[in-house]
Amino acid sequence: MEFWIIFTKLTLILYIAFQSVQAHISHISWIVLTILLYFCVNITVYLFKNSIIKQLLLILSMGLSIWAYFVVNPVFSLLFPLSMVELAAGLTEKKWVLLILPLVPILYIDEMLRPLYGLVAILSFMIFTFTSTYSRICLKNEASLDAMRKKLQKVTKDLNENTEYIRQSEYTFKLEERNRISQEIHDKIGHSMTGALFQMEAAKRLMETNQPKATELLQNAIHISKDGIENIRMTLKNMKPPTEQVGIHRLKLLVENFNTKQSIKTLLTHEGNLDIITSIQWKIIHENVMEALTNAMKYSHASQVSIDLKVLNKIIRIEVRDNGAGTDTIKKGLGIIGMEERTAALNGKIIVDSSHGFSVTTLLPIPS
């Protein structure tokens, strides 16, 4: 911006210089002096950051041009408007002030110079306004670019951290699981196996001498082994909890909580084979339903919300629909965008419809 203002000032000075040379003015030295003074003052303006000093320098520059108008050459009045605009811009936001102020002197100056002065004043105003507007836009864009860059950096960092965290927790999880299994094996299966082994050893010894006792011991061993096998089965079962139960139970819990806390009545229905819903799908279903319920509570003025979960052949469909007024146009808030993003991660889709109440439908494909 400053570059263009300086450039404009230089152009004006050049014009004045040419004008003076052509007019064969005698006191050329005075003109050169004035130009130099003006030049110095105006370069200094841009060296200071302090706005008060800047304004003082601008006033000095204006004074210089007024002085030069009276004493040296009237044409120096052309330097006045741009400084005036610059000064005024520091004090007010109003555009019309910026246009009017530099035009005021036109009433007092030499009649011959008026049209030229008017032209310069208006052009000064325009150039200043354009350059300042666009430089402001530039700055704003740069700032937002910067912010975006920072955000990107942060997100990348978060991503890296998360990956690391996932790796870590995976490891911990495996470790824990291994510990649990070894503990179980040691506590239960180990004990029964050892017990069975003792019984069988004893039976082997008694086989010749006391056959009925040996048979009894063997029977014992068989019992213990059976228990052991049952234990193994139990252990394995405990290791893999039924995801279906967790999923639908969590959802039921959510609905119950909602029912007790809110005045809106909530219904949950489901059909189809819930077994094939994976835990990651359950997670998204749960989050989307929660979000949709929150939305319904906040905006719908509905008395009832229904949640319907259907497992179809190739798709899982979860619809949360309220019986409220709906809206004419759906404005995508962060909530809906969040749902969309989550769902899109599993190649799913969100349909938001507001024609009959408000409904959010999540469609998740079942991978074959």
């Binding site: 052949n313 190739k314 798709i315 759906i330 889709k349 349909i351 439908t361």
Partner: protein
Amino acid sequence: MNVLEIKNLTKKFGDFIAVDNMSLTVAEGEIFGFLGANGAGKSTTINMIAGLLRSNDGTISILGKNNAKQSRFAKMNIGMVPQDIAIYEDMTAYENVKFFAGLYGLRGAELNERVVEALEFVGLQDKHKSYPKSFSGGMKRRLNIACAIAHRPKLIIMDEPTVGIDPQSRNYILTSVRKLNEMGCTIIYTSHYMEEVEEICSKIAIIDHGKIIAEGTKEQLKSIITNTKDVWIEVKTTEKVNLAAIQDINGVEAVSVDENFIKINSDTGVNNLNKILEHFMNSHIEIRSLQEKAPNLETVFLTLTGRNLRDQ
């Protein structure tokens, strides 16, 4: 080569999002159906493909060339049959087709030839000197099509070409669509008449609220919901029916008896209706009626969106 490729297309009218991040490809030789309720975003999508609307985001490529950058190429290769009848009532059928074909750079004898060809194609050659004022709704629709095909486009877009016409004209139009397809045109066909789309389209996208919620052949779409169909056979008496034998027929998943109905749930992928009927014939059981309850696109749409196609 893909005739049409849409990537992340978005169109907003103020706050209203008409097309929401849509991606889609249409391969050569397809009759691609856009199925959706009124206001689902079908026409908006089509209008963007045809260059009538500018998109807010995303790209459209026709025959591999970006629509925005090479709009002339795209437009030369597209024939647009708009939803509303767009013809000049004060010009004859011949003049209408000639004028629009002339916009595609056709001149002289070639122009004349193509115009006659197009009019013959839609069966209006006898009426070429008549003014559309005297035409029935169906004839106007046909002229509407003729105006879009005279320049032999590779991709023909038909936006609800059968709205408000008699069944005869409708059949004529559907036949012409197939014929155009056989002649090598790729066709995009929108309708909110499920039967039409089911009948002629080789691939279908179900569009709702500016999104494609499902896409594929009609079989693929139907299989989203279920792989089975219900066959209900009404018999005079259920005494002689051997349920176990029916259960053994290939593809049959479940059989049950409900009063005089034998309800058979069967895999849609297996053609076993003949075998089932054979069983009844061989057992000398009198069949009173037979209903097949297979899912159609309407059911698919209803199940996925929770609304009827013709809901407003």
